[in-house]
Amino acid sequence: MTELTFVEAVNFALKQEMRRDKSIVILGEDVGRDGGVFRATDGIQRLYGESRVIDTPLSELGIVGASLGLALGGMKPVAEIQFDGFVYGAFDQVISHISRMRNRSRGRYSCPLVIRIPYGGGIKAIEHHSETPETYFSHVPGIKVVMPSGPYDAKGLLLSAMRDPDPVIFFEPKKIYRSFREDVPDGDYTVPIGQAAVKKEGTDVTLISWGSSVRTCLEAANSSDKSVEVVDLRTISPMDTDTILNSVQKTGRVLIVHEAPRSFGAGAEVSARIAERSILNLKAPIMRVTGYDVTTPYPKLEDYNLPDAYRISRAISKIMEF
């Protein structure tokens, strides 16, 4: 057991799995010699060489499109997209091909691969470096979308992602890359994809969140005079509906928290599932605290858009007062 930050846990998982699985190659911009702009792949090229940790030309489409081919050819690509806002150029490859290869070939071909993407705000970066794009990807059938909220889950889920038979988009909340440490087992362990976690038990109201917003929820929950349960989805797609419904049955009140814009976001999907399957358990309307329906603001206004503990506490009060 070692205390690791999120980014160290990612680095650890990659190193460990590359030793176990010789077909893994890491590819992306500045992932090799530089060790990645967030140092997520720091030192890995020294361990496994330039043929397994590959500094590519500046081309997200090339990285993702070629990853599909590498996967078809029997390699296990773990691609890094440097920042959330740069992935859109590769989106066509994800929605038109990576997500469809198994289905299109009626099961003959598959492309198990992992695309790691540092996402989200909170680091005061320039435009296109603070986006939260899980919704776009979660809407595509045929891929899995994972968004861990801490170092332990990061390692366990990344190991699962690299062993998954299907393509996985792995979002890493860059805001909490280094903000806290957690005990992370040195040995092999996995956190299953598609399984949510109850991070804090409570009986009055359920907060449902994922990624870095889980921390904010816990902050609000711990300072609340109500008994607040916090559910961390961990995987957006496929979504663990059972864990959500179990919690709703217990509390009857739901607040969904995410950083992405509210409208048509993943929170809407959570809300719909509860409405479809558990509406009679609800004691108050489902509420959402999210980024507003605005383009991610530049650093000067960024904090106004990010969900914070104040907004969450306020919403909890509203729900409780209903």
């Binding site: 500045d30 500046l58 320039i126 960024e302």
Partner: protein, 364 residues
């Protein structure tokens, strides 16, 4: 006979002003003394701005910043060759272009401090807001040039990008469109040889960026990017030719990124100091100084005055910039649509209510 050569190509490199300040008479563009002087002043101002921005970032007074030190000739030389009516589509390291085109420095600092109002250009400056995702703006320049052609206007558009962008499909698709529709567009690649940690030699298997023009049927040339006269000459020729209806060109300014990629980067991790030192000798400002001193356009006294003036302009801009009030947070809702949809108005009201609650909590 079953085989024959269908076409042959060559790639030209051009230098007008060498490292010792000597010029090639045949290639030297006709420039008035005051134009040369302005080139020098703008390059100095760009360098001083750049240095100040870097220091402000280190002191926590500015956001992440990408230095342009060493690339002043490419930026200033190209901007001087364009007219105020031309359209500029910048990448994020074109500080010299912004400065030469007359963008107020305080405002440009504002942009680099994460304030969207820094994108508001003066009415007579046709520079589009910085496009951060590499190369994605190159097709936009083609479209605008195409519109100029459709409307029979004389403006051309110029797209600026780096060597990294030439690996993106956006670059190739843009050049292809430009060639097919013969639009008045100048593609200006500042090949500073480093895309963060990736050297140009590993960005492409081709020898030059210039030769990539060949595949799209448009002219391409590599110029010494630390030679302000060569850059000026190439861009002027390309813009003139575009204005006459002869279509687009690609100009590769071969230069060097003397600084880190940005203030978030540490280039010592991936490149040798001796390489950086070798390029220091090719400094574009030093080179122009040598020429100007030879031509009696500059002496020590005048030089000191120009640097002092640049320093005072930049210091004044810093004071102005730091006195600017914070933006109104409701700005983030105001520019998404011309007419704000009802549901967004509702969210804005919710936002204002929340912020009011937050400030009263803080006050309590």
């Amino acid at each position: 006979m079953t085989k024959k050569v269908l076409d042959k190509f060559s790639v030209e490199w051009m230098q007008v002003l060498d490292e010792n300040g000597r010029t090639d008479r045949k290639l030297m563009p006709k420039l008035a003394a005051k134009t040369v002087q302005k080139m020098y002043e703008m390059m100095v101002l760009t360098r001083v701005f750049d240095d100040k921005a870097f220091k402000l970032q280190r002191q926590g007074r500015l956001g992440t910043y990408g230095q342009s030190i060493g690339q002043e000739a490419s930026a200033v030389g190209s901007a001087m060759a364009l007219s105020k009516k031309d359209w500029i589509f910048p990448s994020f390291r074109e500080h010299g272009v912004f400065i030469t085109m007359g963008v107020p420095l305080a405002q440009y600092f504002q942009y680099w401090n994460g304030d969207e109002r820094g994108n508001i250009m003066p009415a007579d400056v046709n520079i589009l807001p910085v496009s951060v995702p590499v190369g994605t703006h190159i097709p936009h320049a083609v479209g605008l040039a195409w519109a100029m052609k459709m409307k029979k206007e004389r403006s051309v558009s110029a797209a600026y990008f780096g060597d990294g962008a030439t690996s993106k499909g956006d670059f190739h698709e843009a050049l292809n469109f430009a060639g097919v529709y013969k639009v008045p567009c100048v593609f200006i690649c500042q090949n500073n040889q480093w895309a963060i940690s990736l050297p140009f030699s590993r960005q492409t298997a081709a020898k030059t960026v210039a030769q990539k023009a060949v595949a799209y049927g448009i002219p391409g040339v590599r110029v010494d990017g630390n030679d302000v006269f060569a850059v000026y000459r190439a861009v002027k020729n390309a813009a003139d030719s575009a204005r006459k209806g002869n279509g687009p060109s690609l100009i590769e300014c071969f230069t060097y990124r003397m600084g880190d990629h940005t203030t978030s980067d540490d280039s010592k991790k991936y490149r040798q100091q001796k390489e950086v030192d070798a390029w220091r000798k090719k400094d574009p400002i030093m080179r122009l100084e040598k020429y100007m001193i030879k031509k009696k356009l500059l002496n020590e006294k005048k030089k000191v005055k120009i640097w002092e003036l640049a320093n005072s302009i930049v210091d004044k801009a810093v004071r102005e910039y730091e006195a600017i009030e914070r933006p109104d947070p409701t700005d983030m809702f105001r520019y998404l649509y011309r007419d704000m949809p009802k549901e967004l108005k509702d969210q804005l009201a919710e936002f204002q209510d929340t912020e009011k609650g937050k400030s009263s909590t803080k006050g309590a």
